[in-house]
């Protein structure tokens, strides 16, 4: 199945629904729920997530405008003045030497100013091409190689669909290896370090860049050794806006992402299994009547519900969580009780079926049903002995 076919099917499925550029955070979120075909298709089709979640009656992502502003201001401070803060931190943490300061800015605004005649897709292609040519020079350690590239654009194949990812900074010492630098306005406290949950999310995001970088280096004829197993994570010193950095080990995360991506089904295969009329409607116009809005909302929910989901513990950070949770509840799915319970029940999909087997209201027929009946029967007996009554 070709990328072309995937793009065609995704385009048909998307219809006139608005799209949104994907970023590494969203891809990392998708890889956290690797078996969910629903999330795969929603991301491969690059659907606009806020518009979609609104139509699915899911709560909007809560991002504080203050936090956003703080993040932007911090990134600006770190990257301003010829990236002097990044240069200082790479010298301390990555062993860059004083003469290694050759740099280039590939950020969209810079490229638009330099190439006013090009439209947005052409600017993207130009950024990808220049990223590629500079990375080829960096791994060849040529004299013209750069040491710091600001906002390079990498490509990654997601379920047969190419997507583009923007890294904060890519560094390479002459005798070193390609190392990504990510800037996050997370406060780094001297006694407690940074919030491990947020650092973990940042690390998973950087791992997506590294997967894309591995593919790019490979296609340029480079070796796996050309890329570092680590990344530099620049955070704020306490609640100030002074930068501090930590080197993080990336190998386990990158290997995990590689493993998951290699097993992702092709978007085309998932969509080919669906009826041809599973197509998203265009979102309602602002001046649409309440009735029209309700109709479009219902049609959107029906279309998304037709995509196979894999509801479980790993869905906790997915923006569509509430929609899938409601669907799981409506189907009385065992998955509502968590991945462990769902695994224990095997092919016994509903809670009422499991209780029927446990209570002996139904005779087990398959191997899974016999196992559920026996395991949970023993547990029910233990609970009964402990004085707990099962009323289901």
């Amino acid at each position: 199945m070709t990328a072309h076919r995937s793009a065609d099917l995704l385009s048909r499925f998307r219809g006139d629904f608005p799209t949104q550029d994907l970023d590494a955070r969203r891809i990392a979120g998708m890889l956290e729920a690797p078996h969910c075909e629903r999330r795969l298709i929603v991301d491969a089709a690059a659907l606009n997530m806020p518009v979609l979640t609104d139509l699915l009656d899911c709560p909007p992502a809560q991002v504080s405008p203050h936090a956003t502003r703080r993040g932007q201001e911090f990134e600006r401070r770190v990257l301003d003045n010829a990236m002097d803060e990044v240069i200082a931190l790479t010298r301390t943490h990555l062993g860059m030497i004083r003469t290694e300061t050759r740099q280039l800015d590939l950020s969209p605004s810079q490229m638009r100013t330099q190439n006013p005649a090009l439209d947005t897709p052409a600017i993207r292609r130009l950024r990808v091409a220049r990223t590629r040519s500079h990375i080829a020079a960096m791994i060849a350690s040529s004299d013209a190689a750069l040491h710091l590239v600001r906002h390079p654009l990498l490509e990654l194949d997601l379920a047969g669909v190419p997507i583009r990812l923007e890294l904060d900074v890519l560094t390479c010492a002459t005798l070193g290896r390609l190392t990504p630098v990510e800037i996050k306005s997370l406060p780094l406290h001297h006694h407690t370090d940074a919030d491990p949950h947020k650092v973990g999310a940042a690390v998973r995001q950087i791992a997506v860049y590294l997967v894309a970088l591995r593919r790019l280096v490979d296609s340029c004829g480079g070796k796996a050794d050309d890329i570092a197993d680590q990344a530099l994570l620049i955070m704020t010193s306490g609640f100030s806006l002074l930068p501090e950095a930590r080197v993080v080990d990336m190998r386990p995360h990158v290997d995990h992402h590689e493993w998951v991506l290699a097993r992702q089904p092709q978007a085309a295969l998932v969509l080919a299994d669906l009826p041809r009329d599973v197509v998203l409607p265009a979102p309602p116009a602002p001046d649409a009547s309440t009735g029209q809005k309700q109709d479009i909302k219902a049609a959107t929910q029906q279309t998304v519900a037709a995509l196979p989901m894999h509801y479980g513990d790993s869905c906790s950070s997915c923006p569509m969580l509430k929609f899938c949770a409601r669907q799981a509840a409506a189907h009385d799915a065992v998955a509502q009780l968590g991945t462990q319970a769902a695994n224990a029940c095997g092919s016994v999909g509903t809670i009422s079926a499991a209780f029927d087997l446990i209570a002996g209201r139904r005779n087990p027929a398959t191997g899974a049903e016999r196992a559920v009946s026996a395991d949970f029967g023993r547990a029910a007996t233990a609970l009964a002995l402990a004085g707990v009554r099962l009323d289901h």
């Binding site: 301003d80 010829a82 002097d84 803060e85 240069i87 010298r91 004083r98 740099q103 190439n115 090009l118």
Partner: protein, 268 residues
């Protein structure tokens, strides 16, 4: 009608249109909303004109000089192409003048237009000695976003190669150290030292545990680092300048928008 009453009336009119607009939005009278938005925009423009005129008239002693004069003064002090953020920081620290980013946005276009008008012959007498220009990339001679230079500088100085941003920053730091040395007890000295302190952390050898920060120490550290990269930087810049001299005078100052794509870029 005196000026204060005129301003009051203009502001009341804006408030009345806003209230009416809110009511129309609430009642979903879309045609009325469009009409009110047009009227509001006219009323706002009139109010802004009156308020700006008032502010200019009132602030004769403390009012800021025109934006281009501010930028030229700062760039003259810095001596090398500099990022807009640094120009703003230095303007605030050394001259106590806040440069509004929104006013910088139109500066480049205004300067280019003014240069073009001066070249047309009829208004040649209006040609200015110096224009604020964008620094240019060394490979394609395209205008760089957010890096400013002066037209009076040599072409080599206005072209930015891969090493130039760091080299120029180090040159600027050395110039700021000189400025701080000459400042003595001037009122801006503390602000300038605070700005220099920011750079101290990012230059190798500028700070040590037992030594207090001094301007000469920072300048020496900056110049030591500059010494290691300046030859490579100058070679790339002068090579680029040789090629850039074939461009017409306007392109040499304001850059070319000609896009030359490599085969791999064209293939996308």
């Amino acid at each position: 009608m005196d000026r204060a009453a005129e301003i009051k009336q203009a502001m009341d009119k804006v408030a009345a249109y806003q209230a009416e607009l809110a009511r129309a939005v609430e009642a979903r009278e879309l045609e009325r909303v469009n009409e009110l938005m047009a009227q509001l925009s006219v009323a706002e423009r009139r109010r802004n004109r009156l308020l700006q005129a008032e502010a200019t008239a009132a602030g004769s002693a403390g009012s800021a000089p025109p934006i281009r004069e501010q930028v030229i003064a700062v760039l003259g002090l810095l001596g090398s192409p500099s990022p807009v953020a640094l120009v703003r920081d230095v303007s605030a620290a050394r001259f106590g003048e806040i440069i509004q980013p929104s006013r910088l946005a139109s500066l480049r276009r205004d300067e280019q237009r003014s240069w073009q008008a001066a070249q047309r012959g009829t208004t040649r007498s209006q040609a200015r000695p110096t224009y604020v220009t964008p620094a240019l990339t060394y490979d394609r001679f395209a205008p760089m976003r957010g890096v400013l230079a002066l037209s009076s500088w040599s072409l080599e100085a206005r072209l930015i190669g891969p090493t130039s941003p760091r080299a120029d920053l180090l040159r600027v730091i050395a110039r700021l150290c000189d400025e701080a040395d000459h400042a003595g007890d001037a009122p801006w000295t503390p602000d300038l030292r605070r700005l220099l302190w920011k750079f101290t952390r990012t230059i190798a050898g500028a700070i040590s545990a037992d030594d207090e920060l001094t301007n000469s120490r920072l300048r020496d550290a900056a110049q030591r680092e500059l010494g290691q990269i300046t030859d490579a930087d100058k070679a790339e810049r002068s090579g680029a300048a040789e090629r850039a001299r074939r461009l017409d005078p306007e392109e040499q100052l304001f850059g070319t928008s000609l896009h030359v794509s490599t085969p791999s870029e064209a293939a996308g």
